[in-house]
């Protein structure tokens, strides 16, 4: 049994302008110790998917259907008290912006200890000791002194380390990292990613890595879900996605990876804007931006179906298999040529 199995998850938000379909039928699963990368542009529904699983959406406006089976128990119908037991204990989360994710008026030691004492009946001293161990594990220098500091005394990278320490304090089975490196500078990004990878091995947690950076995914993910406009465009193993990408959107993402070895004036970009989730375009949601658009794309929403004869590699595109293979091969050949 998979650790987490999400099935046809839909999250809609009621707003003054109408219903926003933030997540519209997403399915994936995460096995024990595995890493799943969820990739997509801002507003493609990556974060909302995970907040829904955690039950952290605003209750007043969010409507959710589908299933999120956690070790056989549906999180979407679980009681609030049960969810609280799971949150921070079995499933932990780190967020995009470490500058604002820690409470400015509490010492980081206390915030770490709080995370532990919410789930385990331990003394203040034990929790502090464990917090200190974790701070050392995530590489905070002079952790024994810094444990009594306040968040504003830490840099962004260090705060993200604290967040990671806080997330791991209860040995969670699943760590959801919501763009953990977006707000950090490039050198720090690499450090944080390496850290997450190392700790994943140490703690044996599964990881869901939400990112808009395919490079990050290539580096650490076992499986990849590519999301576009609240739906899954393509999903499969990292190998499948990178060796034979099947969706024009995935091609676009790969084409827009910045390359240091290449002397280009501008990065390649996907033309246009992501669609409004209030009134998504008919047919394939990517069609207004797709360079390969056909008449059928404007009318029929493509089903998520196996790519070729591989049932583990799913994609949602009307293009015929041959064109896809040819275009993907062209793209990859181009990237290889540039790289060599």
């Amino acid at each position: 049994m998979a650790l987490l199995e999400v099935n046809d998850l839909k999250t809609y938000f009621r707003t003054d302008d109408g219903v926003v379909r933030a997540v519209d039928g997403v399915s994936f699963k995460v096995d024990k110790g595995q890493t799943l990368g969820i990739v997509g542009e801002s507003g493609s529904g990556k974060s909302v998917t995970c907040l829904t699983i955690m039950g952290l959406n605003p209750r007043r406006t969010a409507m959710t259907t589908g299933h999120a089976m956690w070790k056989g128990e549906d999180l979407l119908t679980a009681k609030a008290s049960r969810l609280r037991e799971i949150r921070g204990n079995e499933i932990a989360m780190i967020f995009q912006d470490p500058m604002t994710s820690l409470n400015p008026v509490h010492k980081i030691g206390d915030q770490l200890a709080e995370a532990m004492r919410l789930h385990e009946d331990v003394s203040r001293r034990q929790a502090r000791k464990r917090g200190l161990d974790l701070l050392k594990a995530v590489g905070i220098p002079r952790a024994d002194r810094r444990i009594d500091d306040y968040p504003h005394q830490f840099s962004g990278g260090m705060r993200q380390r604290v967040m990671i320490a806080m997330a791991l304090i209860n040995n969670p089975d699943l760590l959801i990292a919501d763009e953990p490196t977006t707000a950090l500078d490039v050198t720090t990004q690499a450090q944080i990613l390496t850290l997450i990878e190392r700790l994943q091995h140490e703690f044996g947690s599964a990881v869901i890595m939400i990112t808009h950076d395919l490079g990050v995914v290539a580096e650490i993910a076992d499986d990849v879900v590519v999301m576009y406009a609240a739906e899954i465009a393509e999903q499969g193993t990292t190998d499948q996605i990178f060796k034979s990408p099947h969706h024009p959107y995935t091609w676009g993402l790969m084409g827009s990876l910045p390359r240091l070895d290449q002397n280009v004036e501008r990065l390649v970009q996907i033309q246009g804007q992501p669609p409004s989730l209030l009134r998504p375009p008919p047919g394939c949601r990517f069609h207004p931006r797709c360079p390969y658009v056909m008449q059928v794309c404007k009318e029929v929403d493509p089903e998520l179906s196996p790519a070729g004869d591989d049932p583990t590699h799913l994609q949602a595109c009307h293009l015929d298999e041959e064109t896809k293979k040819r275009e993907a091969a062209k793209l990859l050949a181009g990237m290889m040529a540039e790289a060599s």
Partner: protein, 331 residues
């Protein structure tokens, strides 16, 4: 820390001179001669002359101001360093020591202001927090209408309405008079009578502030609820009451402390409208009467007292803020 205090004290001194000098100038800009007022309608030149010498108004303004400052500071260097009792001078009209006048009026105003502050916080905290938790709910809409009314309605009008209904029509509370908390005079005195006589003034005084604070607390709590660290707390599995207490309110109420300190400091200078409506012999009433009688020393006394209150409360707020908000360091 020490340097910070020194700097604050120097600023306080500047503020003191600024307010008192402005009061002096405004007073002498009004074409009224206190000496002539004392001598009455048929003032003889001799009487006016004697009165001027008696009050000291025959001297130039700068000399009068010097005298005022000299009396107020507890030490002087004139003729060698020596200490003396700081004094605000004597009233032009009643000849009472202004120290005594302010000393009589200050407890009345303090009773009104501190009682009122407790009352408005008792209203504003729960209403503000509940409105923020349930925006657009019936309670929230009701509260927001109340806020609008509270901010728009003038305290004098509210005071008169209260006095009419709860005092005159229903007879629940006295409309006028003040009773000492200590030192009962006759049958009026003691904590119970004191509070009983202050119920209507407290309500009147608190309404405007309650409205302002409900609005502020509601906005702050709503803002804090959307903070990332609140989401973090929930993601840790914290129950909602803990999220509220330790993460939302702890942050949302920081600015409220500042506002409260400054408002109390300001109000101690005299809650003029409320005191006037209910005839409370507080600082506001004293100042109004003194202004009407061109009684400069008394006006000046109230100004000095109000300035000191504002300075002290602002300083207290700053010091307190450094304690409750770790991001603030005094330097």
């Amino acid at each position: 820390m020490f340097r910070y205090l020194i700097r604050r004290l120097l600023w306080a001194l500047v503020l003191f001179f600024a307010t008192t000098i402005v009061t002096f100038i405004i007073f002498y800009a009004v074409p009224v001669d206190p000496a002539r007022t004392i001598c009455g309608q048929r003032a003889t030149p001799e009487c006016v002359h004697r009165a001027e010498i008696f009050l000291g108004t025959n001297k130039p303004i700068y000399y009068q101001y010097y005298k005022f400052v000299y009396r107020l500071f507890p030490f002087s260097f004139a003729g060698g360093f020596h200490f003396h009792e700081p004094s605000l001078g004597r009233s032009f009209t009643s000849r009472l020591s202004v120290n005594y006048v302010v000393g009589q009026a200050a407890p009345v105003t303090a009773s009104l202001v501190f009682g009122g502050a407790i009352l408005w916080m008792l209203i504003a905290l729960p209403v503000g927090i509940l409105s923020a938790l349930r925006p657009r709910s019936l309670l929230d809409r009701f509260a927001m209408v109340g806020v609008l009314v509270g901010i728009s309605a003038h305290p004098v009008w509210i005071g008169l309405i209260f006095a009419y209904f709860f005092g005159f029509k229903l007879g629940w509370f006295p409309i006028t008079n003040y009773c000492n908390f200590f030192n009962a005079t006759g049958e009026c005195g003691g904590p119970v009578q004191w509070a009983y006589h202050l119920v209507l003034p407290w309500c009147t005084f608190a309404i405007l502030f309650a409205a302002l604070y409900v609005r502020m607390i509601r906005a702050n709590v709503m803002e804090a609820l959307n903070e990332d660290y609140v989401r973090t707390a929930r993601a840790k599995g914290a129950p909602e009451w803990l999220v509220m207490r330790s993460h939302v309110l702890r942050n949302a109420l920081l600015p409220v402390v500042t506002m409260l300190g400054m408002d109390i400091g300001l109000a101690l200078g005299g809650a003029i409208f409320t005191e006037t409506v209910y005839g409370l012999p507080g600082l506001g009433k004293t100042a109004i009467n003194a202004i009407a009688n061109f009684d400069l020393p008394t006006v000046q006394g109230v100004v000095v007292f109000a300035t000191i209150c504002i300075i002290v409360f602002n300083l207290a707020v700053d010091l307190l803020y450094a304690v409750i908000d770790p991001r603030i360091r005094l330097s």
